[in-house]
Symmetry: C2
């Protein structure tokens, strides 16, 4: 019988999205670029420290980009990269499944 | 601004699929009911002990069903439930994304 190998990318991707807050941060950024305060304002129960950490991880994974506008005062916005935006259909399909089936 | 809440079901679902081997076991069972040995034969590098544990978790989550046929010797098969089968479109969408974007 043919042996099965699952791409390790698949498991890594699920781990990234399964990590608390990451899915929600991505969902919020799907509505457009946001400043730190705008993200924290719409996600209750998440500390600023946690948001800093998660945004760094998502940036490191190439899902989120930190845009710095050299204005006075400096303006910083977080925006989804193409990689991040491309998550939408998969997240929608998975959310539909989870809403129907997860207890 | 409207507050965002992500369904905890969504994160739980991602955690389940992000756990090593689970995605692969589900993929194998998408090809039809299988006996323990048939699953272990097609997934290299996974110990029997690990497969026992993962099948129990997937059964507990209602994704996999253990069917016992009272023959001599007894025959036991693992099969995806409706919940498990319904994962296919979401897993496909996510895999497409992971193959394209994950390093």
């Amino acid at each position: 019988m043919e042996q099965h190998h699952l791409c390790p990318k698949f498991e890594s991707a699920f781990q990234l999205l399964g990590k608390r807050w990451n899915g929600l941060i991505i969902r919020v950024l799907m509505t457009g670029p946001k400043r730190f305060r705008e993200i924290s304002a719409v996600i209750p129960n998440m500390s600023d420290k946690m948001l800093v950490e998660r945004l760094k991880q998502l940036e490191c994974e190439g899902v989120v980009k930190r845009e710095v506008y050299p204005e006075t005062p400096v303006r910083i916005e977080y925006v989804l990269t193409k990689k991040g935006q491309s998550l939408e259909p998969a997240m929608d399909a998975f959310q539909t499944w989870a809403e129907k089936w997860m207890n």
